[in-house]
Amino acid sequence: MKNLQNYLFKLCGECLPSGFEREEKSVEALLAPLVDEVHKDSCGNIIGCRKSAFGNAKKIMLDAHLDEIGLMVTKIDDAGFIHFTNLAGFSPIALPASSVMVKGKRNLSGVVATLPPHLLSAEERKKPIEMKKMVIDVGYPAETVRELIKVGDPIILRQGCAELLNDRITGKALDNRAGVAVILDMLTTLQKMPLAMDLYVVFSAGEEFSGFGALNAAMEIAPDEAVVIDVTHGESGGTPRGKAFPLGCGAVIGVAPILSGAVTDRLKEMAKQYVIPYEMEPINGRTGTNSDQIATSRCGVPTGLVSIPLRYMHSGCEVADLKDLKAVSDLLSRYVNRGGARYE
């Protein structure tokens, strides 16, 4: 689990809001030693490939999205406050009093400014604040801010990762750096083993926006099957029953109309056979993950979904359990090693 934690801490330090993934360099460097070849495509996906020891092998694509939720500068007012809009995935609920980073000519730390409760009327105190009424304060006067920051620059949450008790980690962008860390850890496990399948791993761009990265990658790779690794909701006070999973429960295997029964069954079989803790997650309708895009790409790609329970999703203090990450990593390495899904 130390390996997983190291990867996770490095990954969560990166600033990769949707649409800005192409500027990234260090994730490629983490992936390169674990695969035969790595490249970055035009939309910002990082794609790594390990070829099978056998000719004519099936192609499997493992996808974990690399991007994180973000905001975008819309204007800088005469007092130097930065106005912003949602770039991807942000809800106004998680924003007030957050510590953020604005990526301009220089990276600037800022805070999401809010009025003190003393200055609000009783009526205003009851209502959530709208995003368009919030501003970011970076401390500088307007002319300096305008010099360093332009309309269209991205903004992300500033928190890094920290250890909590009991193998738990808190930080921003665990959605879905947890999934990326799992794939890197799995590749480490598989390193000494020959593969029965051609393995393509995709750290995809733009999931929090529209899933464009996964769609483009599936078109390029043309996989025979795919497994998406993403996060699901972790149980915490107030989560609705059946929509969240206790931290530490293991790998969460999705069951949904869009997902392939053959892939899902095989994932479950592997978990049972190798005594890997797991739960099933029934999803009606869209899964809200890249599986929706990949499964309907090309002539249809049989796709599975494995999730990691995560508390406080899309906030700066998401919480995950390394034991769950380990379970997903183990499940995937077994799944790939044993040749993927079986079709009868």
């Binding site: 035009s42 204007k75 770039l87 309309v151 733009g206 483009n216 078109m219 390029e220």
Partner: protein, 320 residues
């Protein structure tokens, strides 16, 4: 500028019914393209050969409007919206059906689309249905005029973009790319024309020339885009996040040529590149936007300096 724009706006083209404006544009561009053709959906495509990457530039020909769903007993025509029609912005406007029958668009008290109707002055249901057919589209009647530096007209979204693309074809001298100018259909109802045209052309870079909302008037959008400050380079809207390389290319070109530009971040709305970006292995996309006031009302306002800047930047990109 104003005369050509008047011609463009007078050819009504509610989404799905773009033939009239398409044939007008075709006439205009024929002498300036190596090949001009239409596809099955009605997209109008002009090709200019050149050495270099395939660049697709889109401007949508369609406009928002209404479609007749039924006539009630008293002869009032009930309607559905085609694209983003807001009754509060368009109530009380005269409208014209595709066969020339005119009427008034009336909104209910609550300004819900389901309460809206068109009054063509019919006696009863029979009379109404003898003059228009169910399924016919109606567009808002508008005037096109200049006031100072500003241009005022309905359907500036997006005839002004069509105008820029036509001008670019006319003025383009040394094309440094394989240039596909595409006048798309059905943008206002889900970026549909662009999707099939993009699939056929499979470009390396796709640009959209379209309007954007400005924030420079009372109750304007929460954006810094303003009339008169230049061509607005799209950063993101609801349909796409633009490629950094394309944004940088456009900004560097503008700086070199002294073309005024501003940046455009749109919290709502989308444009044709949204569907092209998702095609194949992915397409690098960017947008050249003309800021307008009162978007999707029957009367919109743009600044001619922004239009000129947009044409200049587009030409610089195609000739670089």
């Amino acid at each position: 500028m104003i005369n050509q724009l008047k011609e463009l706006v007078s050819k009504k083209s509610v989404s799905g019914n773009e033939r009239v404006v398409a044939s007008y544009i075709k006439e205009q561009i024929l002498p300036y393209a190596d090949k001009v053709y239409e596809d099955a959906l009605g997209n109008l495509i002009a090709v200019r050969r050149g050495e270099g990457p395939k660049v697709m530039v889109m401007a949508h020909m369609d406009e928002i409007g209404l479609v007749a769903t039924f006539a009630d007993d008293k002869g009032f025509i009930r309607v559905s919206a085609v694209g983003g029609v807001h009754p509060q912005k368009t109530a009380g406007r005269p409208v014209i059906f595709e066969n020339g029958v005119m009427g008034v668009f009336v909104a209910g008290k609550e300004q819900k689309m389901s309460d809206c109707y068109i009054d063509i002055g019919a006696k009863d249901q029979r009379d109404a249905l003898s003059r228009i057919e169910i399924g016919m589209t109606a567009s808002f009647v508008t005037e096109t005029f200049e006031t100072g530096e500003k241009i005022v007209s309905g359907a500036l979204d997006n005839r002004i973009g069509c105008f820029c693309l036509i001008e670019a074809l006319k003025r383009l001298k040394n094309c440094s790319c394989e240039f596909y100018a595409v006048f798309t259909v059905q943008e206002e109802v889900g970026l549909r024309g662009a999707k099939v045209s993009g699939f056929e052309i499979a470009p390396e870079v796709a640009l959209a020339v379209d309007v954007t909302l400005s924030g420079d008037h009372p109750e304007g959008a929460d954006t810094s885009a303003s009339l008169g400050k230049g061509c607005a380079i799209k950063m993101r809207d609801r349909s796409a996040i633009c490629s950094r390389e394309v944004v940088e290319d456009l900004e560097n070109l503008a700086a070199r040529k002294g073309i005024p530009i501003q940046r455009d971040v749109l919290s709502s709305g989308g444009t044709d590149i949204g569907s092209v970006q998702l095609l194949g292995k992915g397409v690098q996309v960017g947008g050249l936007s003309i800021p307008i006031r009162y978007c999707h009302s029957a009367i919109e306002m743009a600044d001619r300096k922004d239009v000129e800047a947009t044409i200049a930047l587009l030409l610089a990109y195609l000739e670089k």
